[in-house]
């Protein structure tokens, strides 16, 4: 089977400022890759390249063996937590149905099949009982689950999350990562995050992105790797977790 994501030698510049430089990346089926790096290091740009929303100046992008434009509909995308209008008059079920939008043209209504898919996705994330609630009434962690359900409703082969843990308290974060861990057995996951502690427990591979991409086939990060990426001394704290990401230091 071909790689889920296959990026080769990607270069991107905005207004003459280089954002990505020679980025090569392969994600296989059922991989769980975390991408860390400083703000402005090109993380969001990289996600947009993968989704085909930005054309790189150089390099090739393959998503599920084809162009991102053709295959984008097989990708579930969870945007940054704050990016949607949460005072919006919409129920949880309608938010999840929005995930089916890529399969619908104008004039087409959502049918029973769509609704069933939405209920299944809500069930997967444990939010089925909230389906008729207003999105604004939910807590941060519950909203995040709903947005994951929205991305799962098309039964994607790849799940992309952009800083999913922002704005969620640490207890809810744990439940959230448990959920990702459950999903990992079925699909590939790429997650952009600042949360180095979460990487330790759940993630298979880690990459550091600061214009250049430093990639690890395992998740052992060295102080040196992080400092190359962040270009400043980074304090590493190893948490009391089943296994360490960070070497003794």
């Amino acid at each position: 089977m071909e790689d889920v994501i296959d990026l080769k030698d990607i270069w991107v510049s905005y207004d003459g400022v280089r954002v990505l430089e020679a980025v090569t990346l392969a994600v296989k089926d059922k991989d769980f890759l975390a991408i860390i790096g400083p703000n402005g290091g090109g993380k969001s740009t990289l996600l947009k390249v993968i989704l085909g929303l930005i054309k790189p100046d150089r390099g090739t992008v393959k998503l599920l063996g084809d162009t991102p434009k053709n295959m984008r509909k097989y990708v579930g995308y969870v945007p940054q937590y704050h990016s949607s209008n949460l005072d919006f008059p919409i129920t949880v079920c309608d938010v999840v149905l929005m995930g089916r939008l890529s399969h619908k043209g104008p004039l087409q209504r959502y049918n029973e099949e769509d609704r069933q898919a939405a209920r299944d996705a809500l069930d997967t994330v444990g939010m089925l009982e909230f389906k008729d609630r207003q999105i604004g009434e939910l807590s941060g962690g519950q909203k995040q689950r709903v947005f994951i359900a929205r991305s799962l409703v098309t039964k994607p082969k790849l799940l992309i999350l952009d800083e999913p843990s922002t704005g969620i308290d640490s207890r809810t974060q744990k439940e959230f990562y448990e959920l990702l861990n459950k999903l990992k057995s079925q699909i590939a996951i790429v997650m952009v995050t600042h949360d180095i502690s979460a990487i330790s427990v759940y993630v298979d591979k880690v990459g550091c992105l600061n214009r250049k991409f430093h990639y690890h086939d395992d998740k052992e990060l060295s102080q040196h790797d992080l400092e190359v990426s962040y270009q400043c001394p980074v304090e590493l704290i190893a948490h009391g977790v089943p296994h360490r990401v960070l070497k003794e230091h």
Partner: protein
């Protein structure tokens, strides 16, 4: 007092109020929920250029208004999203530019612009039957487009980023929505005039948000509020011998303000 219904102009006024309220009920919900009041105000005022164009060409100013307001909506949408100037600055500039074009074209028009004040401040009592047919057609276009793109507009308003990833062109959808706002302005102009349109686009929709959490129900409710307040305003303006457009807005604003004062005084339930 019911004898005034015997007059043709009064019947037309009531038709116009209903047709205008349908458009502002539907489109107003998008304006309020997507928080695009400022750009809507910009399109409204820039459309004055279209009134000027109508006078200058010697045609019904509404026929100058339709293409000009659609054009302003497209230019404003594109410039505000694509230019390097801040969005509100770009809107502010185009807002005045459209009005300036209108003022110059009217100045150049030989003779006197007879019912210029109607377009600025509205006069629902002077709506002829031909305008009612035009409003009916525009309402049909708005209802059909919203019916066809209901899901897409909902996604656009809720989460642009996700909508893009779902493979839809956010820019095209946004421009289409702005064009519907432009058509709504054409519908509303005879009722309250350019200066007061923004009140009619925002108040019924904002009030309806208070009573329902459902997008479609907001549209029905906002339409009902629009019809109710504009007909009350119409009768009050007749009784008080006051300008109809301003009276409608005054009625609506009073209810709106009282509603929120009352709401503010109620003890808040902890959530």
């Amino acid at each position: 007092m019911l004898e005034i219904l015997q007059y043709d102009f009064m019947r037309n006024a009531i038709f116009a109020a209903i047709l205008a309220s349908i458009a502002c009920g539907i489109i107003g919900v998008y304006v309020v929920v997507k928080k695009i009041v400022f750009i809507s105000g910009g399109i409204t005022h820039a459309s004055f250029g279209g009134i000027g164009l109508g006078y200058y060409l010697g045609i019904n100013p509404l026929y100058g208004l339709i293409p000009f307001s659609l054009f302003s909506a497209l230019v404003m949408g594109l410039v505000s999203k694509r230019s390097k100037v801040a969005e509100d600055t770009a809107i502010g500039i185009l807002w005045s530019l459209g009005m300036a074009i209108g003022i110059i074209l009217i100045y150049w028009t030989p003779g006197y612009a007879p019912d210029l004040m109607t377009y600025l401040f509205g006069n629902i009592l002077t709506v002829p039957m031909s305008d009612i047919y035009l409003m009916l057609a525009l309402d049909a276009v708005i209802i059909f487009t919203v019916y066809a793109y209901y899901k897409q507009f909902m996604a656009l308003c809720f989460d642009e980023e996700f909508t893009t990833v779902a493979g839809l062109s956010v820019e095209k959808l946004y421009l289409l929505l702005l064009c519907l706002i432009a058509l709504t302005i054409v519908l509303l102009i005879k009722v309250v005039g350019i200066i007061l349109i923004i009140a009619l686009l925002t108040m019924p929709a904002s009030l309806s948000r208070h009573y329902t959490n459902n997008f479609a129900k907001m549209m029905y409710l906002a339409t009902f509020f629009g019809i109710f307040f504009s007909i009350i305003g119409l009768f009050l303006s007749y009784l008080a011998d006051a300008p109809s457009g301003a009276t409608i807005i005054l009625v609506m604003s009073s209810v709106y303000i009282l509603h929120f004062l009352y709401d503010g005084l109620k003890p808040k339930i902890a959530s």
